[in-house]
Symmetry: C2
Subunit: 340 residues, 2 copies
Amino acid sequence: MTVVTLKVIAKATGKSITTVSRALNDYDDVSEATKELVRQVAADLGYVPNIFAQRLQKQHTDTIGLILPTFGPRFSDPFFSELLAGVGNRAADLGYDLLVATRAPGEEEVQAYCSMVQGRQVDGFVLVRTRRKDARIECLKKADYPFVAFGRAEEDNDFPYVDEDGVYAMRLVIQHLVSLGHRRIACISPPPDLMFATYRSQGFQDGLAEAGIGAEDLLFRVGDLTQRDGYEQAIVLLDLPSPPTAIVSCNDLMAFGAMSAAQDRGLVVGKDISITGFDDIPMAEYSHPSLTTIHQPIYQIGGMVCEMLIQLIRGEALEKEHILLKPELMVRQSSGLLTV
Amino acid sequence: MTVVTLKVIAKATGKSITTVSRALNDYDDVSEATKELVRQVAADLGYVPNIFAQRLQKQHTDTIGLILPTFGPRFSDPFFSELLAGVGNRAADLGYDLLVATRAPGEEEVQAYCSMVQGRQVDGFVLVRTRRKDARIECLKKADYPFVAFGRAEEDNDFPYVDEDGVYAMRLVIQHLVSLGHRRIACISPPPDLMFATYRSQGFQDGLAEAGIGAEDLLFRVGDLTQRDGYEQAIVLLDLPSPPTAIVSCNDLMAFGAMSAAQDRGLVVGKDISITGFDDIPMAEYSHPSLTTIHQPIYQIGGMVCEMLIQLIRGEALEKEHILLKPELMVRQSSGLLTV
DNA sequence: GTTGACTTCCAAAACGTTTGGGTGTACAGT
DNA sequence: ACTGTACACCCAAACGTTTTGGAAGTCAAC
């Protein structure tokens, strides 16, 4: 099975390589008849262009990069599979490939970015889960590489991103809980170096302040975003001398863990205690009780980020550099009236 | 910022391009002194080889392909994120890139395989979720392309795979439920064209037969593997005139849905009804009640499949072409003694 | 002083494309 | 008969690497 190249088609049609190439690319200095002939023969022979030769020549790769931060071996976050589907499908629609590198966050991850950047393996990057001092952003900006982030960064926000308004979202949650009569509200927050933790914690504090509730350090815990840790942190909260009547988790996975913890303690979630999440992953609707949470259109966000990146790569102007989505509160059964 | 090529280094060191290339690749017909010099200059200039030129020349890509079957827009299966992490991390360890294409199963998916194969974009494929008549397998075999599957195929199993023994696993589940006193056992199975559905259904039937329980068509439902559908199918089962006392789901996600359904009906899972899953995704341990399920080492399987594929690509002999893992039953709280 | 072995280096071809700058023909306008 | 121009085509260079097949130099042995 010898591989079909332009040369083979050239020989078969009696034309030159140049003409074959131009015919296939629909240049207008090739006669219609020749084009037809070339296309026919190419199809018959099953010609497929060698993508590496093309890329070497054209100096761009038609590939976008995405580095998936995999926390630990049992990495399994429905949030990321949905995001990945969003990015991947849109990329395919626009004729781009998706190169995924899985790395644990840290030194090695930044390394991976740099080498993909310098090796020009991809035309641009999708950055997920921005951090406060984000070495990846510095690296990409320094190299003047196109990228779009899902999430903002500290102060200096001078790069294209899509994000949801975490502050506003958390205020919605607190307002909802306060309206149900809750005053002792705990929070399980992500590690503070994650940018979205900042916004969500801020929103939590703001919400409390608006309701005239003082913050209590004991009611604020940091979790690692897994269901397991949501469970652990909730146990700590429930074992306090004066436990909270509501737990606000900064993602759905930890909220599920917290629900299990409460239920293991014999509490009825939505009655004895209210628990809320953030993300609205598909499972949120079908858990028991169903989870009150903030809806993020993850799949669509993936698509938007991908599309912005490709526009950037193509040198087209972005309609909006910064997109901040207004999130929506999904009230379900895990939150309910405070029963005294 | 001009790009650093071998030519630049050659100029800078006063050597030829050949020598620079060979120095960098540690050939032994370059003097130690020259090697040192070249390496030094290359590092100073920040040389990174152009990967496409290399690939064009070497005729292999150091990339493996993985096509993720994304069912619908709200695709979000923790199973796949864990598998992806397993494949991706092992690939990185072995110096390979991972090209991920997300496609909905169907015509277009097969298309994607074919074009990646013919375009020689990847050295080999990881195939996930094999199907009965799997067009992807035919395509890859016909093209004589290296691939390793997670899952077997019908009869003609003549390709390398890793799989778990689904028949055995389901028999374990049934034995467990029978030992708890259950006789009316329902099954929520995946779509039957998925190969693993065959094994798990078979195991289900075998288990019932062993226990001397007759199969009832009404107790056998097909779901689409999502939590939502697990919920729907469980509702149908619970609404039967004579509902089951145990529901065996063929994956964890549907089991979670079924649990919610039972709980919405006011049943206590693990007492009034037993529910089991399959996969043991991380959430299974922290749901409420925790889920009795079959453990699959998904992350490790990803690594194994990846490693086998790379051995295949490198032309090394596989120690074992077919790996069939003996699964383990994790008894947790969602299954309990039948209370009459 | 010729031979051979060894070390160190290099020119040129190759991988499969794309593209800038041609060439040759035909035919119209002057 | 010359110029202009439209058309269909193709040569050759370029992209950045690896590799083949030497060449040039040194040294020792005969």
